[in-house]
Subunit: 197 residues, 2 copies
């Protein structure tokens, strides 16, 4: 009988599917949401639908966007000589937050991972190579996670670009700022030694 | 210029207002939401609006409900002899999760807290006293947090009910299960001593 169910149960079940939201947090969020004014909840629901329906990928860099070209590609003040290659829009956001990088981006849409069925043709690598036809591109910065999948992807991209007269750089790997050598793992320490200058 | 803004910024700002959701979690949730199919997002937004618009308070116990009487008051199999008094619907949910209590509830809608401007007349204490007119009510179980506000509220209710032939009980205070006496605070230990049996 439907009336015997907790009135917030369906909402709670939906919230529990969200990342990092467990039973207790879902309950707290559900109560928070019903305490808001109906107009606030409507504003949120409308914004949610609007974003979901309007979101698309940038034609050029494949960042998320609400216009055919994303807000970064649209920005004429940014350098056209550098393209920073990232796995997903979240990584792009982190780099943007730094407020230091002023070039373009290219979002691969993932990393090569044969075990998960992600092969190179599922990523936007061809689109990246196509962008390098433009004579103004001088440097490709690979900002890819130092993981097995990341290393595989970096290796694949480097192989595909062999013979092209473009500078390819990678983010430096080493000790994070504020770290303690005593607690650093061997692999990080090895990378820090390799990259010493 | 609007197009220079991050497409998820407005959604992220709204999510950041939720309890326990910080900058990073808001970002993760926003990306999670736009990865869902438009129909899933629509289902969530619709459910959210439906719940918010249909939620009301039970006429009898003031639990949240979508019908004039909540799913507990509607349930004829529950005892009419006991009323458990709680501060808010969340506390009621916790007691229901125990699946042991089979009586009625009364939700006060808060606790007396003069500093926050919450006086007894802001709570549903008159409504509680009115419910005690029914001859079948034999026991009032006060399931109120052992805090300054909770103790004040308990004291007030007890004073108001003085002279009435109803059994008033309170939840036991003492060591939580699995606790270590060594680590218990003095106040809890004092309560555990007082309540020894």
């Amino acid at each position: 009988m439907a009336s015997r169910e907790h009135p917030l149960a369906p909402l709670r079940e939906q919230l529990k599917k969200w990342p990092g939201i467990g039973q207790k947090a879902a309950q707290r969020l559900a109560y928070h949401l019903i305490k808001q004014s109906p107009s606030d909840v409507e504003a949120f629901a409308t914004e949610l639908l609007r974003v979901r329906q309007s979101i698309c990928y940038c034609d050029t860099c494949f960042n998320i966007s609400v216009t055919p070209r994303c807000y970064i590609c649209e920005d004429d003040s940014r350098l056209r000589s550098q393209i920073c290659v990232v796995a997903n829009p979240q990584d792009l956001d982190s780099i943007e937050q730094m407020q230091e990088y002023k070039g373009q981006y290219h979002v691969l849409g993932g990393l090569i991972s044969p075990l998960d069925g992600v092969h190179p043709d599922a990523l936007r690598i061809e689109e990246l190579i196509h962008r390098l036809d433009a004579p103004e591109v001088q440097e490709l910065i690979l900002a890819i996670n130092p993981t097995v999948e990341g290393d595989t992807t970096v290796l694949y991209i480097k192989q595909r670009l062999e013979g092209m007269s473009i500078r390819i750089t990678q983010l430096a790997y080493g000790l994070p700022m504020g770290a303690d050598i005593d607690y650093a793992d061997s692999l990080t320490l090895e990378k820090a030694f390799e990259g010493r200058r």
